[in-house]
Symmetry: C2
Subunit: 164 residues, 2 copies
């Protein structure tokens, strides 16, 4: 008899559930990446040293991959953001688009996706003209066609949820 799929069941590999204290610490560090150990200790109800050990463990396990400042693109002159879906023009060629595009700084993110297109990029540029130039650069660098979706407004972003 086959065991039925059970959404409750823990995923098979590469994932060890965090205990409640680690989840509290991770959530606090998402909310404030510069939170002091003293503040985390007060939040978690532990001593500073115990919290330090746990935070180091979250980092070494790869749960926390690093810390970053959240930058407002418009405040640094990137007035236009877009999703750019790309698909190779020649499917018989080896597909190394992510490597070919890695050095283009306007590309914030690159995902391979299942669906009509092969990859989805998130890009930030200063103007419509800059987007035109960027798209040409992407098309020639990776031999792809592009389909762009202009972002009008970001309602929220960077909300990283730590499930129970």
């Amino acid at each position: 008899m086959t065991v039925p799929d059970d959404p409750q069941r823990a995923p098979a590999r590469g994932y060890v559930p965090l205990d409640e204290i680690d989840r509290v610490l991770a959530r606090e560090l998402v909310a404030d990446g510069r939170a002091t150990l003293a503040h985390l200790a007060a939040t978690a109800g532990l001593s500073v040293s115990a919290v330090q050990t746990r935070v180091r463990r979250l980092e070494s396990r790869g749960v926390v991959r690093g810390y970053t400042a959240r930058i407002d693109p418009e405040a640094v002159g990137s007035m236009l953001s877009a999703f750019v879906a790309i698909t190779p023009l020649d499917p018989s060629q080896p597909d190394d688009a992510p490597a070919r595009l890695e050095q283009i700084p306007e590309i914030e993110a690159c995902y391979s996706v299942a669906g009509e297109d092969n990859y989805m990029l998130l890009v930030h540029v200063e103007s419509a003209r800059a987007l035109e130039h960027l798209l040409q650069k992407i098309r020639t660098a990776a031999n792809v066609k592009t389909r762009s979706t202009i972002i009008l407004q970001k309602f929220y972003g960077d909300r990283r949820h730590i499930p129970d």
Copy 2:
């Protein structure tokens, strides 16, 4: 620390270019959100106090909107990520989809976009079954149709470019 909304803060329209030192500091804080003032000072070739003043100014101007830990979704049990494009079923109704979806924690980001669909969401769930449940929740909460694109791999993300 999340930088609080501050009426003093310069709106993004009326963008004032950063000087070279501020760009260096912003890039360093993107690379390491917990970089010490002493490290930033060494990088920028300034005293610690001068750097402290500049970092605070970047925060109060809204260039740096806060700091956050970068979390690996798979390490916290979110094994499946997707873009979900949504469009209201009834265009005559007021469109408050972002507000209606704000409380759903699986939604990391919500953008309004120009194109075939009205909004693009980025979501993280633990399983295909959880995605099915999330999509139903989104459809009923916002009275929208959904079009999902499964993310197979994230090649890079969270690269925030500070242009010269």
